[in-house]
Amino acid sequence: MKKTLLDLTVNGESRSFAVEGHRSLLDALREEGGLTGTKKGCDVGDCGACTVIVNGQPVNACLMLAIEAQGAEITTVEGLQASPDELHPLQEAFMEHGASQCGFCTPGILIMAKCLLDENPLPTDEEIRFGLSGNICRCTGYTKIFDAIRSAGKRMAQQGVEA
């Protein structure tokens, strides 16, 4: 089948992949792009493990064709940290609070939490719940995840981190 050359910016780097029309953005990022941080949980938009930021908005990468991302700017979990030895406050907080068990949901939740905190660094529990309603975690029961998000938010508000 015919492949199309896709030019996009992933985590600030220009990349091009040759993809077939039916390929999902998720498969293209993981396989053509080698970025396996983004997970495939359900592949039908239910779990949020595949959440990435496309042109400033969090979306399910499994519900988008790669070809629809032509020219887009994409941030995956690999792009969260400012440099290889400097973690994002959310990543620090998730480690400190043990907010990850099997870790499969974590990349999607980190991305979603970043989108939430960028707009609203001191969210209420209700706002966190609303923000994460498309991210399913089958291990943690969410308590530690909420703790981690609240504490990262506080840190970001103090430091004025533009994450």
Partner: protein
């Protein structure tokens, strides 16, 4: 994912041409949040996807006092949810958008896609029908304006003809004294399909109800109006007796089925409960 061919037409004429020439296996791709799932789960035999993202003129949201709200086929649920003034003027539609799937899905899913999918449980349909929305279409030789209440012919089916494209939705401006609400009932608060959805849109003058539209989701082959229940409300002071009588009547007017999400009896019961609740919620929120 199963293989299909991807097409990227540049205008409505090309879209329509492709749909007609490629025939039954060709589908419009807007947000794709339903269609891509159906392809993956082999629920729909898709040979061609006709992406309408490059077609100009489909992405605006506008509001004018005389004509009301108008939004195009590429407007996402998230975009409409965030449109200034929407929550104040159309609280029922805004409420439905807020509970549609997840933020990630709402950033892709288009409202018109949700409508054209013609599911009786689609969240956006009851409030739009209660608000008297119409759908604009394009087809060679001239499009149509179809009241949304007449658009659906069954689950997954509408009056659209082959090659006809839904391009925009218009919703009349709310009259002063208009009161609106949408209540979705499901087993959980998020990522849920409605077991029952009830939208009400009431016009009031000095405490008397001068107009009422009730739309019932997921309790029939299409989203239903409850005209006899509406008639009970019109002319009343929306007092407890009138609201209860209307709720009882709405229960008689729906035609629910039993499925994995709920029994028909439960759905019918909930139509009564939610109609009452939606009227009182609408009266609390001034539109």
């Amino acid at each position: 994912m199963r293989r299909f061919e991807y097409h990227e037409p540049r205008n409505l004429e090309e879209v329509s041409d492709l749909l007609t020439t490629l025939g039954n296996g060709a589908f419009i791709l807007a947000g794709g949040t339903d269609l891509l799932v159906e392809i993956r789960e082999r629920l729909r035999d898709v040979k061609h996807l006709v992406d309408i993202k490059r077609v100009p003129g489909l992405s605006g949201v506008d509001y004018a006092d005389e004509t009301g709200l108008r939004f195009g086929a590429m407007v996402t649920a998230g975009q409409l949810e965030a449109a200034p003034g929407l929550a104040a003027r159309y609280p029922n539609l805004h409420g439905a958008l807020k509970v549609l799937a997840s933020i990630q899905v709402r950033n892709r899913a288009t409202v018109i896609g949700n409508i054209c999918r013609a599911s009786p449980s689609a969240d956006t349909i009851p409030p739009l029908i209660a608000d008297g929305a119409a759908i604009e279409t394009w087809r060679p030789g001239g499009g149509r304006v179809i009241p949304l209440a007449d658009f659906f012919t069954g689950p997954g089916r509408s009056v659209l003809t082959p090659g006809e494209i839904a391009t925009a939705i218009t919703v009349p401006p709310p009259a002063p004294g208009s009161r609106r609400a949408y209540i979705k009932h499901g087993r959980r608060k998020a990522m849920e399909l409605a077991t029952v959805g009830v939208a009400v849109s009431l016009d009031t003058e000095g405490g008397t109800c001068t107009g009422a539209r009730i739309a019932l989701g997921a309790v029939g082959p299409v989203v239903l109006r409850a005209p006899r229940a509406e008639a009970i409300l019109v002319g009343s002071r929306l007092d407890a007796a009138a609201v209860s009588a209307a709720a009882e009547q709405a229960m008689q007017e729906c035609t629910p089925i039993s499925n994995v999400r709920s029994s028909a009896e439960y759905r019918r019961e909930m139509v009564g409960v939610l109609t009452r609740r939606a009227v009182s919620q609408a009266m609390e929120v001034a539109a």
